[in-house]
């Protein structure tokens, strides 16, 4: 199998691999930074000093994102628009190349982003109002 054949067969794998890489990198980086920040805040408190507000804000943001804090209504609407646009684009791509062997990749993408768009719409309509 040549490189071209290998690439033609498995090019789509770069997306999930990249997603996994980015997620793992984010988790390890956030964890290490949160630990450092908390240690620093503890040192400030032990010395009877007020920690810098930007440090507290950073830790609060990290905690919020780790808890999966609910996005605002505007954020949910934007998620719906982005996923719907991606789904429409991938669906259109699938329609144009549906005769090709690799067209399934577009269909998978269209279905996955379509489901996410429906989920975002569901959260927008029925989710907790901020």
């Amino acid at each position: 199998m040549t490189f071209a054949e290998f690439f033609a067969s498995y090019w789509w794998l770069m997306f999930p691999i990249f997603g996994m890489f980015l997620a793992a990198m984010g988790v390890f980086q956030d964890d290490a930074r949160s630990t450092k920040a908390m240690d620093l805040i503890r040192t400030y408190v032990n010395q009877g000093k007020d920690p810098p507000p930007e440090l507290l804000q950073m830790v609060a943001q990290d905690a919020e994102s780790a808890r999966g804090g609910a996005p605002s209504e505007h954020g949910r609407a934007w998620s719906f628009i982005v996923f719907a646009a991606l789904s429409a684009g991938l669906g259109t791509g699938y329609y144009f190349v549906r005769a090709e062997d690799w067209a399934f990749a577009f269909l998978i993408g269209a279905v996955a982003t379509g489901v996410m768009a429906v989920g975002a719409l569901f959260l927008l309509v029925f989710g907790r109002k901020s």
Partner: protein, 48 residues
């Protein structure tokens, strides 16, 4: 082979550009947060 590969997969440059931008954005955010920690540590050392 290279020409054929490019002809078939030229459109991949867009998601790859997106991936590069995502990594750069993440690195920039990490650098900014590291800077906040470093500044707080410097302040703490100066006050001691």
């Amino acid at each position: 082979m290279t020409v054929e590969l490019f002809r078939d997969f030229w459109w991949l440059m867009f998601p790859i550009f997106g991936m590069v931008m995502a990594v750069l954005g993440m690195a920039r955010e990490a650098r900014a947060e590291d800077e906040v920690i470093a500044r707080a540590r410097r302040e703490l050392e100066q006050r001691q």
